[in-house]
Amino acid sequence: MKTMSYTEALREALAAEMKRDDCVILLGEDIGRYGGAFGVTRSLLDRFGPQRVINTPISELSFVGAAVGAAMMGMRPVVEIMFMDFITLAMDPIVNMAAKLRYVFGDQARCPLVIRTVAGGGRCYGPTHSQSLEAWFVHTPGLKVVAPSTPADAQGLLISAIRDDNPVIFIEHKMLYNTKGPVPVPACRPVPFGRARRISRGSHITIVSWSWMACQTEIAAAMLREEGIEADAMDMRTLSPLDIEAVVESVKLTGRLLIVQEACRTGGVAAEIAARVFEAAHDYLNAPIRRVAGPDVPLSASPVLENAAMPDAERIVAAAMELVNFR
């Protein structure tokens, strides 16, 4: 194990996969010398050259479309969308092309495409640079959706994403880039999709989250422990596929479920998890399923407002306490 940052872990994964497979190329705005807005691709241009690390014009729609075309021809493009908010410009090739290719064209077609992008608030970047839009992609059959919260998972899941023959929406978080954690050495190792990671074990309440909220959940679990509450906390890690079995199993033991999402409440992934758990474990629930989520408004640039909007460990603790004390 080696301690490194989320950014470094991602960069190592990119470098390792580029070394391993010539078909892996990077495409995106300012990913060359600049290294991308958050520095993830820094140094890769020098190491792999401009044929592999391709700076694009500001043309999200078409460089994503082109990546789909390149993927169809055997390349393995890893595209960076600088902020997830800008993925709004590239929904067509993602949804109408990448997600449907294999299903419609059958065995002849593959679309090994990774779209890396940055979601979430916390940096006061304002309403068009802070959105968490994972729910749209979870609602799009044919895509895989990944949202790691630790350096190790960022690295392992990015490796899996690059090796996957299907389009993957790979969601990073601006608050995570500088976080550090242990990462397996020497070799980069893939982390499989569809398996939640247990943050803490407990029998009083199940808490489920992903991305930056998984870090908040980890803090919350520690705070709850001090209150004598043992939370069975899980980081979903991938949202498509979704490890609903792990959640259901846990809920069967705890009887209580809290789901934490940063995205605005209405229509988020938490609703889907709630619906599925209720379908599968109706009998076991001793309390309503609760969601801690962002409010149904845009995220503001003002630190005070952003802070008030974003779920955090304290809000998770408060909701968990309420739920544990339910009836």
Binding site: P57, V68, G69, A70, N96, Q108
Partner: protein, 320 residues
């Protein structure tokens, strides 16, 4: 028109006639309610499809549009499997999942027709990028319409392809209408090919109803692209003789205009030219025409007798 091998010329003619018969049959089948869904026939545009595909090599690639049957047949696809796709059968190119607008055969280098106007432009650009990165000498031929030329992706794709000198031929089939909209109402300059300059790219205007002119123009562009000179934009002026899609009342254009273009029918024109130049006589022509009818009839039979896809397998095959 340049000198050419007789068999090759006859081959063009045969393919053009097959496409026309195919589209006519499809229109009838829709009108009679045998096929459901929708379709976009390419009658009148056969010279573009056949001429441009004639200029390609085996290792080249094509991206097509919603109006793709002609492109696909010209590239060598099996009319039976196209028809079966229209019938929604499991023997169709997309096993009934795509329908008229969405078919592909990667072994033929046919990367797919497409339901989203303009979306092939970026796909072709990416395929061109792959060719360049893989060091291959293949070119990518990207069909799109005059309507698609107004999509932002036209601009983004041509800009990137020019910057990166990709081997892509952007071939605009300007059939004067985007659905009901005359090109003058959707494109702010007289010729779409003019826009090539805005990308530092060569733009070419061709009579799209002249199969040999199309072939030669595409061949020249391919030659340059294959040799690293980057992308080009070819505008083929043509006309769709049929309606836009099934059940189009064609209220947006006059019968006189249509009659004019029927006189310029690329098939009749080529037929006359072949006969005038001694490549074909009327009896042979008739034979080719009835041969085409047989091919299409057999395609319909194949489609009709093929089995439906299995609904129980509906959820399979989403992922590779």
């Amino acid at each position: 028109m340049k000198k050419a091998n007789r068999a090759t010329l006859i081959g063009y003619y045969r393919t053009m006639v097959v496409i026309r018969r195919f589209e006519e049959a499809v229109e009838q089948l829709f009108a009679r309610g045998v096929i459901r869904g929708t379709t976009h026939p390419s009658s009148g545009q056969e010279a573009v499809a056949v001429g441009s595909c004639a200029a390609l090599g085996k290792n080249d690639y094509i991206t097509s549009t919603h109006r793709g049957h002609g492109h696909f047949i010209a590239r060598g696809a099996d009319p039976r499997r196209i028809m079966a796709e229209l019938f929604g059968k499991s023997s169709g190119y997309s096993h009934g999942r795509g329908g008229s607008q969405i078919m592909a055969d990667f072994r033929l280098g046919f990367l797919g027709s497409n339901g989203i106007t303009g979306s092939g432009l970026a796909i072709a650009t990416g395929a061109g990028l792959a060719m360049k990165l893989q060091g291959r000498r293949s070119v990518v031929l990207c069909f799109f319409g005059d309507g698609a030329a107004s999509q932002g992706t036209f601009h983004e794709s041509l800009n990137m392809a020019s910057l990166w000198k990709l081997p892509v031929i952007y071939l605009c089939e300007n059939n004067l209408y985007a659905m009901s909209s005359p090109v003058a109402e959707t494109v702010s300059v007289p010729h779409i090919a003019q826009r090539a300059e805005a990308y530092g790219m060569k733009g070419v205007i061709v009579d799209g109803n002249d199969v040999l002119a199309v072939r030669d123009a595409v061949a020249q562009s391919c030659f340059r692209a294959r040799n690293g000179n980057g992308p080009e934009l070819i505008e083929c002026k043509t006309y769709r003789l049929s309606g836009h899609s099934r059940g189009d009342p064609r209220i947006y254009r006059t019968r006189e205009e249509e009659a004019l273009w029927h006189q310029r029918d690329p098939i009749l024109r080529f037929r006359t030219w072949l006969i005038d130049n001694g490549f074909l006589d009327k009896a042979e022509a008739k034979k080719i025409e009835s041969g085409a009818a047989r091919i299409v009839a057999s395609a319909v039979r194949f489609a009709r007798t093929s089995s439906d896809p299995d609904p129980d397998a509906m959820c399979r095959g989403l992922f590779a």
